[in-house]
């Protein structure tokens, strides 16, 4: 089994890539539909995934993702290429979703996002579904964390941003980011130990 103990994806965009992105964002800001569509298509999975973790699996996550994407398009003109488009969009996504989470008090009925296809997938897609369900379970576990801690955890564990990047994105200091990350991981660790669904999925029955 290959284990990625410290997960993270590297944006790895060169400045030339950023330049191209600045051009595209500038077109999007000027109202070019094809540029806007291209940006949405490129960022869609990333934004939806982030929104779901931040919303702790709540079904409103889809709404938040939509708001974040719209905010990204509205801010397109302010992208200067100082960081990758993905990082820049991530910052807007986190801020938009956090704002919505604070604004909207969830109602008593906590409806977790569900798939329509559960139990009805072909063999090929079964692994994907199983992984998605497990990750969703993790997102629900995020519900025990404060939104600020959730944001740091998502940016680090899901998107692999560095501590300094996260601090910049959240307008806070690195010490605070480290603290939130430590607290979040400790809590998550405790919950993971006692979660039969995730243990089963990883293939480790609790002894």
């Amino acid at each position: 089994m290959i284990l990625h103990m410290i997960p993270g994806e590297k944006a790895g965009l060169s400045s030339a890539d950023n330049k191209a992105d600045v051009g595209m964002m500038s077109l999007a800001a000027s109202g070019y539909k094809s540029a806007q569509r291209q940006i949405v298509d490129r960022l869609l999975n990333r934004v939806r995934s982030t929104a779901l973790y931040l919303a702790a699996g709540h079904q409103d996550a889809e709404d938040y993702a939509q708001m974040a994407i719209i905010e990204i398009l509205r801010s397109a003109g302010s992208y200067r290429g100082e960081s990758s488009l993905e990082s820049w969009a991530q910052k807007i996504t986190v801020r938009t979703v956090m704002r919505q989470i604070k604004k909207r008090r969830w109602r008593g009925q906590f409806m977790v996002v569900t798939d329509e296809f559960e139990g009805a997938v072909d063999a090929c897609a079964e692994t994907d579904l199983s992984r998605r369900r497990a990750l969703r379970q993790v997102a629900v576990l995020f519900g025990d964390l404060k939104p600020g801690v959730r944001a740091v955890m998502t940016m680090k564990l899901v998107h692999g941003h560095s501590i300094s990047e996260i601090a910049r994105m959240l307008d806070t200091n690195e010490h605070n980011v480290r603290y939130r990350l430590r607290v979040g991981r400790q809590k998550l660790r405790r919950r993971l130990k006692n979660d039969p669904v995730l243990r089963e999925w990883i293939g480790e029955e609790r002894q």
Binding site: L44, N45, S49, A120, V140, V158
Partner: protein, 537 residues
């Protein structure tokens, strides 16, 4: 054991250091690897953290198939383009569909009505043809006809779909009904017998005079165009973001408010507010509550309004032989054939029904072409068939050029996967009623499929959360649990059932359901919430 715990701590320290940017030495890496071989807890943690890394997919979010993805993006593009034209605000548009709308709208109404209050004299005077005080002549706009079913005329001329409506147009609905959009964000449903006149249609004011009959007006709260003033012989109604009806019958003008609030001004100049759920007669004292029947009658019309659009709408022309058949799109009755409507793009379910004739159902993909014409030839039912209410299995259709096409089956028209994808599209569009209809179709067509099982639970969730129909939701959850008590979604169904009972106020049964949930799923992630709720009741 102590030694293993110590190793766990050490490994966690190493992970943490790595998280903060440190590079592990060869020795430390080996330590971690050896520990993972022995420690199941850490293996779970490492495995989960490894899977969390973004890999280009939507991760925990439900996967979108190509169609749903396209619709998702279209939805965003639509909102952005409306914002660009200054006609929409996303946060407001998202909340339009939620029950919290009333609160949001109330604040907006208060703010804007204060402005209207001060401006009232000038534009009321103008609307009544009197001398305007300080009124600025406005640039003229043009309205559009979005739906025509029956006989809608302007000055004796029959109007067609897309016909332009201008200031001064006098519109009469002799038979059937019609929907017109006066300007972006203001839609008017005209019932049979209604007669209205567009007295002003400018950048600073829209004034609609109702001579007789009933109209239902929907003003989107995002609407930031000119204010709307609806006038009758008995007074006027100042409007911001709201939904209300005006009926002028037997010389009485009654107003009912279904969303938001309005301000009424009588002939004598007396001004008073009318709020959500209230109705009043212009020029008379007193306010009454809207009856349940009145509310449900209007809800059908509102669903019609939501289905129609002037922006990138698809022109749908439906006719039948014989004429006079009822046309339903996604379960919403648009009218009696011939029907002309500008419908929102997407997958739509079209039903044609006429008593004594075979019914027809067709799935339409609106968006491929800008205009879609269908002429259906309805087969007459025999007496036996009428008695047994046999649904349409052999209805035939013709295209607009009257060329006959082979009989269309209205039975299973698609595979379970296709049908559930269609329901998902409706969900993406927040078209909850249509989504429930699509799930229902799937369950009817493929009752033993795995998708039908999932559809039951999805249906229940929508009915409970989005349509506020806990009784219907309870039935659906019960049906799932009775048939597939040990199914993969039994946990969700059990939880949904408890929530439905809560919404119905049956706390005794809710308690039993919650206790049963805890017994069956003690390790569920929802268990803590269930316990909290049990403590509350």
């Amino acid at each position: 054991m102590t030694r293993r715990k110590g190793n766990c701590d050490r490994v966690h320290d190493l992970w943490e250091a790595q998280t903060f940017g440190a590079v592990l030495s060869e020795k430390d890496r080996r330590l971690v690897k050896d520990h993972l071989d022995q420690c199941a807890d850490c293996r779970v943690e490492a495995g989960i953290l490894g899977e969390m890394a973004f890999d280009g997919t939507s991760g925990p979010a439900p996967e979108l198939d190509d169609l749903s993805r396209r619709r998702w993006i279209d939805d965003v593009m639509d909102i952005v383009s409306r914002q660009d034209s200054g006609a929409a605000n996303v946060s407001q548009s998202r909340t339009w569909r939620t029950s919290s709308f009333a609160a949001a709208a109330a604040i907006a109404v208060l703010a804007v009505s204060a402005i209207l209050w001060s401006a009232w004299p000038s534009f009321v005077a103008q609307s009544n043809g009197e001398e305007a005080i300080g009124y600025v002549a406005s640039d003229k706009l043009a309205g559009t006809l979005l739906l025509s079913s029956g006989d809608v005329r302007v000055g004796g001329e029959v109007l067609g779909l897309g016909s332009t409506l201008e200031q001064g147009s006098r519109i009469s609905m002799a038979r059937g009904h019609a929907v017109m959009e006066l300007t972006d964000g203001i839609s008017v449903f005209m019932d049979e017998g209604a007669q209205v006149e567009i007295r002003e249609l400018g950048q600073t004011l829209v004034d609609l005079f109702v001579k007789s009959g009933r109209i239902i007006v929907q003003v989107n709260p995002d609407h930031d165009g000119p204010p709307l003033l609806v006038t009758t012989d008995d007074g006027s109604i100042a409007v911001t973001g709201t939904v209300f009806s005006v009926a002028v019958v037997d010389g009485r003008s009654s107003v009912s408010v279904f969303r938001g609030s309005v301000k009424l001004k009588s002939e004598t100049g007396q001004v008073r507010p009318l709020r959500l759920g209230e109705e009043a007669v212009l020029g008379r004292e007193g306010v009454t509550q809207i009856s349940r029947e009145g509310e449900s009658a209007v809800s059908d019309m509102l669903r019609t309004l939501e289905l129609l659009t002037s922006k990138e709408g698809i022109a749908l022309e439906i006719d039948s032989v014989p004429a006079g058949a009822a046309v339903f799109v996604d379960g919403v009755e648009l009218g009696i054939t011939p029907v002309r409507a500008s419908v929102r793009a997407g997958y739509r379910r079209l039903d044609i029904k006429k008593e004594g004739f075979e019914s027809v159902r067709e799935l339409l993909e609106l968006g491929v072409e800008r205009k879609l014409t269908r002429v259906f030839e309805l087969g007459e039912l025999s007496q036996t068939e009428v008695a047994s209410s046999v649904t349409s299995e052999t209805a035939r259709r013709k295209t607009s050029d009257s060329k006959k096409i082979s009989p269309v089956s209205t039975g299973p028209v698609a595979t379970p996967a296709e049908m559930i994808a269609r329901a998902q599209v409706f969900r993406m569009e927040r078209n909850w009623a249509a989504a429930v209809g699509a799930y229902g179709d799937l369950i009817d067509a493929h009752p033993s499929s795995a998708q039908a099982r999932a559809a039951l639970v999805s249906m229940g969730n929508i009915q409970l959360e989005n349509l506020n129909k806990p009784r219907a939701a309870l039935k659906v959850f019960d049906a799932y649990l009775a048939r597939f008590g040990k199914g993969t979604l039994a946990r969700e169904a059990s939880f949904g059932r408890a929530n439905a009972l809560r919404a119905l106020g049956k706390s005794g049964q809710e308690r039993a359901a919650l206790e049963s949930f805890l017994r069956d799923y003690p390790d569920s992630i929802l268990a803590q919430r269930v316990k909290t709720r049990l403590d509350e009741i």
